[in-house]
Amino acid sequence: MKKSSLILASAGALLLMAGVYLAFFVAPDAVVRIDDRELVRYSQKIFYFHVPVAETSFVFLLLGGLFGAMYLGTRKRSYEQMSYAAVEVGFIFVLLVMITGVLWTRADWGVWWEWEPRLTTFLVLTLMYSGYFVLRSSVQEESAKARFGAIFSIIAAVNVPLTFVAGRLDSLKPVHPTVFTLQGASMEGPMLAAFLVSMFGMLLFATSLYIMRLDLLRAREDIEYLKEELEVG
């Protein structure tokens, strides 16, 4: 493993473990009151990892679109590789959001799936970015693959916020809990600390994954190049 990605990965992993510790042993349990009875909502513990995963996925999908635009502007191959690596890492995290989201839905509402705006949004994102990979594998020529990949990564990134807004158009009230509002976070003290530690841990870990993926892409290209050189002689 390259040094930089090793350092990032271990720092991220340490923070994530600290996050687990904070979430389970320091942060207070979430309590709801129903008819004078106090209920501990243990499933809220999922929040400390589910939300950082979701936000990390946004960061990388956005970066994917940004690097895609930079590739189209400059035609520098390295931007295209950065875009591809960012989208792939982002996609891994979208998948994680789906998995953890489904589990949380089951724990909280007793069903595996609910057509709720935010869950639906992530399902659409999963499908849209699956389309990105299908598109890339369906184009043969390297330069066209890079071009169409970059273009679709931009279109998809633009579509992410639109999908979110559209989900709220529905007159059905969203059941998904909203923690962050324009007024700021409705969390404080140990809860916020646990969340932020997990959040940064996740970002660091994702960055190390991104660097590894990028190394792999670059090495692949070097190999192709060397092979061609050897054949031409």
Binding site: M1, V40, Y42, K45, H50, M212, A219, L226
Partner: protein
């Protein structure tokens, strides 16, 4: 939902995140190792050719 009913899902969430991330890291490392091997053999071939 209280502790008794919720804990399998909570554990499931944390485990699945770690599992997916670890699998991804392992796959990436394996591929990187394979690529490095290929690069080494190719650069030898380049040297031989001059």
């Amino acid at each position: 939902m209280e502790f008794q009913e919720a804990w399998p899902y909570v554990v499931g969430v944390y485990m699945s995140i770690w599992a997916v991330l670890l699998i991804y890291v392992v796959v990436l490392q394996k591929k990187l190792a394979a690529v490095k091997r290929e690069l080494a053999s190719l650069s030898k071939a380049v040297e031989r050719k001059g």
